[in-house]
Symmetry: C2
Subunit: 464 residues, 2 copies
C-alpha cells in the first residue's frame, strides 16, 4: 500500500507546485491569454452577433433532417460562413432519414361518461408509423416501467400502453432526470408491441409542468411489430391517469399521418480558418444543425451551432491568427440517425490531417459552467491548469465526462470535449414548441461563445 | 525570497494532503453530509415551497420601506414563520425613512419642431424631491461623467443635466457593469446642483435594452441645493440624446409629486430554530425584505429572503436538528437606509449570544455558483474543503469577497458570507417593473435554497 500513496502524494505535490508557479502555459504568458480572453468576452457580449444570427435562423423555422427547411437552413449557414470570410466553406454530402409528421395528430377520449370527445395534447414521436384513417382505438393500460408492463401478461393485449413514469425533478442535474425516463420514449413502442399492445402513449420527458408535448426519437426493431407511438403533455398525462382510474372502460382514439420516406440528400456544413503554423492539425468546434420539428430548435441545437461559428468569427473580428486550423462543423441528423457525425468521423479517419481536439456544444445556451473531457488523465490535468484564464468566461471546471454525440464519432481525435452550461431550464423546452428564440438570453448565449472561443484559442496555441 | 517560497510550498503541500486524505470534516463523515445534501436538494426541488411562497408574496405587491404594503408583507412573513413551527418568531422594531412616489411622474419634450409633447419613460429616483405644479423645464446638457459636467462651467447653469453614461455590457460580471455607472444615479442630483443645474435625468442602470426605467436610491447632501432626479428608459435615453443633437433648443419638462414623510415604524422579521448543542451560537441567514416600489421585488430581494426562510423549513421538513441556532432575519430598509441591518447589528453587538456566521442572499435567485466569504484565510481554506459536498447543489467555489449590505453590519460575526448565483439576467430586471414573479424559475430558486441550507447545515455541524 505504501507505494501508491507515496506516488499520490508526489503527484499531488507536483501538480500543486506547477499550478503555484504558473507553469500551465508554455507558449505565451498568462497575461497574454488573460488579455485575449477579455477581448473575446467583450466582443461577444457587446456585438452579440451569434444572437442576431439565431434570430435569422429561427425565422427559417425548425430543421428536421431531410426537410425542405433543413436545406434552407444549410444554405443559409453556408452563405453566412462565406460572408464572414472563413478560409474555406464547403458542404459535405450525407444521406439522411426522412420522416414527416404530416398534418394530422389527434388523440381523443371515447366511451367515457364524463369526458367523451375530450382531446389530448399529444404529438407523434419521431420515427413513429402513422395510423389508418380511423386511427387506433383501445383501452388504456398505465404502467411506470417495462417490468410492470410485462408483469400484466395477457392483460396488455389489444391495449394502448400508457408509459407514465415521471421525470425526476429531485435531481440537481436535469440531464440525469432525462436519463431516468427517456427509455420509455425510445423503446416504449417496441415493449408495448412485445406485450401485445396496439400503441404507446408516453409521458413527455420534461422538467416543466405544462401541457406541451415533447417529441424525440423512438426506435423500432426488425423482429417486433410496429405500433404508433406518441408523447403527451404532462397536464393531459395526469388527466388521463385519473380518468382511467375513475372510468376503466374509457378508450382513446389516436390518428396520425406521419410517415417515413426514402432517405434524403443532406449535408454537413463546414467552415474553417487555416492554422498559421500547423495547418494540418485541426480543432473541430461544432454542434448538430438538425432539430426536431417543434419550436425552432433554438437551444437544441441552433444556438449552440451558432456559438461555434461565432468562435471563428471572433478570431476574425479580433485579428487572432490561430496556429492550428479551427474548423466549424454543423453536423446534420443527430436527432434521428447521427449520419452527419458518422460521415465526418469517416472523413477524419481517412484524412491525412491530425484531429487534435473537437469541442461540441449541444446542451443549450445557458451561462457557462465547465467543459466535460473525454481524454487521458495527464492531458486533463494539463487543461485544468488553464482554468484561471477560462474562469473569466465563467468556466469553473474541466472534468472527465462524455463530449457529445457528434464529436464522439471523431475517434482519432486526441481530446474530445463538451461545453457544459447551466441546465436548470433546458429540459423545460427540449424537443418542444417551447424551444424558441425568445427563451434564449443574449448574454447567456454570448458568454458561451466566448468560453468556447477562449478554450479553442488555448488549444490552438498550446496544443494538447 | 527563499523563506516565503518555502512556506508557500509547505502550505500548498499540507492543504493538498488534507484534501487528498479527506480531512475536511471533523464531526461527521463525508457520506453523511452527502446524504443530507441529496435529501435537502430533493426536498427543495420537488416541493418548491419557497417558490409557492413567492407567489403569495408577490400578490401583496412591492414592499418599499415605510409603505403600507411593506407592513402587510411583514405580517405575512411573521404568520408564515409561525405556521412553519419555528421555535421563536418575533418582530424587531425599526424606524425607517418614508418616501412616496405619488401619482405623477411625467417628462415631456417641449420647444421641439419634430417631437413637441413627446413623453419620455422616466421614473423618480428613490428619495428625490418632487416639483411644483408646473414642474421644472430646462434645456438638456448631456454628459457621460461628473468630470465632463464640471468641465462645462457656466454652460450647465439652469439646465437639466442628462447623465448618459452606458452600462458596460462587455464585462462578464453584471455587478461590475452596475458598479461602473451607479455613481451617476446616486450622486447625479448633487453634482448637477453643484454645477448650477436644475435637475438630473439619469440613464437607467440596466443590462437590458428596453424602455423600462430602473429606479434606485439617490442621495442629497446638506450643503447642496436639492434638485429633482429621475431615471429614463434606455430607448428614450438614446432618443433624447439624438433629439438634443438635432435640435439643441429643445427643452424637457418634468413633473413629480414624490415626497419624503417623517420616519415610519417598521420591523425586521426574525424566526429561528434553536440549536440542540450550542443554542447560544447563532448562524444568521437572511436578506432584505424591503424592495423598490416597481415590479414586486421578486429577485430583489423577495425570493432571496424566502430562500433563507426555506433553509429553516427544510431542516424542519427533514427532521434535521441543527447543533447551533439557525436564525432567519428579514432585514428592512436595505434599499434606502439600511436601518434594519443597523438595528440588528447593534442587537448582535450587545447580545450575549455568539454570532458565528451570517449568510446573505441578495443577488437574485438564479442557479447557484458559489459563496463569497468575508473571513480570515485559514477559515476560508477550511470551508473550501467542504466544496465536494456543496458541489451537489452546484456550488463550485468559495472565494474572498463581500458578504452583503445587511449581514456586513453584524460586525462581531466570525464569518460573513454572500450567496452568489449566476448574474447574467439580474440587471435586466433590478429595481424595475421587470422584477416580477414570472421571471423567477422554480428550479433555479430552489437550488439556491438547497445550496444555502447545505452550507448552513455544515456550519452548524462543523462550526467555524
Amino acid at each position: 500500500m505504501k507505494k501508491p500513496i507515496a506516488a499520490l502524494i508526489f503527484f499531488t505535490i507536483i501538480s500543486s507546485l506547477s499550478t503555484t508557479f504558473g507553469q500551465a502555459f508554455t507558449n505565451n504568458s498568462k497575461e497574454h491569454y488573460d488579455k485575449i480572453a477579455d477581448e473575446i468576452i467583450r466582443s461577444a457580449l457587446t456585438e452579440a452577433k451569434g444572437y442576431e444570427w439565431l434570430k435569422e435562423l429561427c425565422e427559417i423555422g425548425p430543421r428536421l433532417s431531410g426537410s425542405e427547411n433543413s436545406l434552407k437552413a444549410i444554405y443559409w449557414a453556408k452563405e453566412k460562413m462565406e460572408s464572414l470570410g472563413f478560409d474555406s466553406v464547403w458542404l459535405q454530402p450525407v444521406m439522411v432519414p426522412h420522416w414527416e409528421r404530416g398534418g394530422v395528430e389527434n388523440a381523443e377520449i371515447v366511451k367515457s361518461k364524463s369526458f367523451d370527445g375530450k382531446s389530448l395534447n399529444i404529438t407523434a414521436l419521431g420515427g413513429s408509423i402513422g395510423t389508418s384513417g380511423d386511427g387506433i382505438t383501445g383501452h388504456i393500460l398505465e404502467v411506470k416501467s417495462f417490468e410492470e408492463l410485462h408483469s400484466y401478461g395477457e392483460k396488455a393485449k389489444g391495449k394502448i400502453i400508457f408509459f407514465n413514469r415521471s421525470f425526476d425533478n429531485g435531481l440537481a442535474n436535469t440531464f440525469a432526470g432525462y436519463g431516468g425516463v427517456v427509455g420509455q420514449r425510445v423503446q416504449g413502442a417496441v415493449e408495448a408491441a412485445k406485450a401485445g399492445g396496439i400503441g404507446a402513449i408516453v409521458r413527455s420527458v420534461t422538467s416543466k409542468y405544462d401541457n406541451v408535448p415533447h417529441t424525440g426519437v423512438m426506435q423500432y426493431v426488425e423482429s417486433v411489430n410496429k405500433v404508433p407511438s406518441v408523447s403527451i403533455g404532462l397536464i393531459d398525462a395526469d388527466f388521463l391517469s385519473r380518468a382511467v382510474k375513475n372510468e376503466p372502460q374509457i378508450e382513446v382514439n389516436i390518428k396520425l399521418d406521419c410517415k417515413t420516406f426514402t432517405d434524403a440528400k443532406s449535408f454537413n456544413v463546414i467552415g474553417e480558418i487555416r492554422g498559421s503554423e500547423f495547418p494540418d492539425e485541426v480543432i473541430v468546434v461544432g454542434g448538430h444543425y438538425d432539430s426536431w420539428d417543434k419550436g425552432c430548435g433554438a437551444h437544441d441545437d441552433g444556438a449552440p451551432c451558432l456559438q461555434t461559428m461565432e468562435v471563428l468569427d471572433l478570431f476574425k473580428r479580433l485579428n487572432i491568427q490561430p496556429k492550428r486550423t479551427i474548423r466549424c462543423v454543423f453536423f446534420i441528423n443527430e436527432e434521428n440517425g447521427t449520419r452527419g457525425a458518422e460521415t465526418y468521423g469517416e472523413y477524419a479517419m481517412n484524412s491525412t490531417e491530425i484531429h487534435l481536439a473537437a469541442i461540441e456544444s449541444d446542451r443549450g445556451v445557458f451561462t457557462p459552467r465547465g467543459f466535460t473531457a473525454d481524454t487521458d488523465s495527464l492531458t486533463l490535468s494539463k487543461l485544468q491548469g488553464w482554468i484561471p484564464v477560462l474562469k473569466k468566461s465563467l468556466i469553473d471546471w474541466i472534468e472527465k465526462g462524455g463530449s457529445g454525440v457528434d464529436v464522439s464519432r471523431i475517434k482519432n481525435a486526441k481530446g474530445l470535449f463538451g461545453f457544459y452550461p447551466d441546465n436548470q431550464r433546458y429540459m423545460d423546452l427540449h424537443h418542444s414548441d417551447n424551444d424558441i428564440f425568445e427563451t434564449v438570453h443574449p448574454r447567456e448565449m454570448e458568454m458561451g461563445s466566448a468560453a468556447i472561443a477562449i478554450f479553442t484559442y488555448l488549444l490552438s496555441e498550446e496544443g494538447l
